[in-house]
């Protein structure tokens, strides 16, 4: 099966550039003629994940595999990890600082949004080692 594989370094020191990878994926899917609704779901889910890598985990790597009928996204960081994934998934739960909040993030809606806009989501996390988030979005 043909698959397009894209890889991005997500810079953890630069809040301004957070979203570059998601934007590039969005552009690629659009150019490939994927339905706009599906493109938006991928863009939002990946963008929230990318923001999380920057504000919670000092950046990391994003690998995106585009198949004819879906996208698989792996967001991998070597950050602090998530101690209680169930708690982290709760809408409104956030450990973000006031300075992050003042930038418009840290409402504790990122992981719930990723869940909402993806068809499959898995979080593998080890405290002190890092976190990998897997997202799958099936095209309409």
């Amino acid at each position: 099966m043909q698959c397009i594989r894209l890889e991005y370094d997500v810079d953890g020191e630069n809040f301004s550039s957070a979203g570059n990878a998601s934007e590039s994926v969005k552009r690629t899917l659009k150019q490939m003629g994927v339905a706009p609704g599906s493109v938006r779901r991928v863009a939002i889910a990946m963008y929230e994940g990318e923001i999380n890598m920057v504000i919670h985990a000092h950046g990391g790597k994003a690998v995106v595999e585009i198949y004819p009928e879906r996208v698989d996204i792996y967001l991998k960081d070597s950050g602090p990890g998530i101690e209680n994934i169930e708690l982290a998934m709760k809408a409104g739960y956030s450990t973000a600082t006031e300075s992050i909040r003042s930038l418009g993030f840290g409402a504790g809606m990122g992981l719930p949004n990723m869940k909402k806009y993806s068809d499959e989501m898995r979080i593998d996390s080890t405290v002190g080692v890092g976190t990998t988030v897997f997202l799958r979005v099936n095209f309409e």
């Binding site: 939002i44 418009g104 409402a107 809606m109 949004n113 909402k116």
Partner: protein, 112 residues
Amino acid sequence: MTIRDVVRLLDAEILCGEEHLDTEIHTACGSDMMSDVLAYVKDQSVLLTGLLNPQVVRTAEMMDMLCIVFVRGKRPEQEVIDLARSKGIVLLSTEKRLFVACGILYTNGLGG
């Protein structure tokens, strides 16, 4: 209404995107929390906000929004204006506060 009507109703300054002023818009949302915008917005074309950082433009881009209105007379840095221009997003700045600006647009027929 069109984006040109928003400019008139809010007495707004156009920061970039003059060429898109005749684009039709039907709905808007006002928020300072970008995750809320990403969570609840559906096909809204205008974002009103008091935030000025580049992630406001990126959030609008992810949602396929057409126009951002900065309230309380705020203006973002040139970097943010350039980012919006490169994405074809119109940036406006109004002296009005968020609540008032949203109210004016709502009263004049823009939906939520």
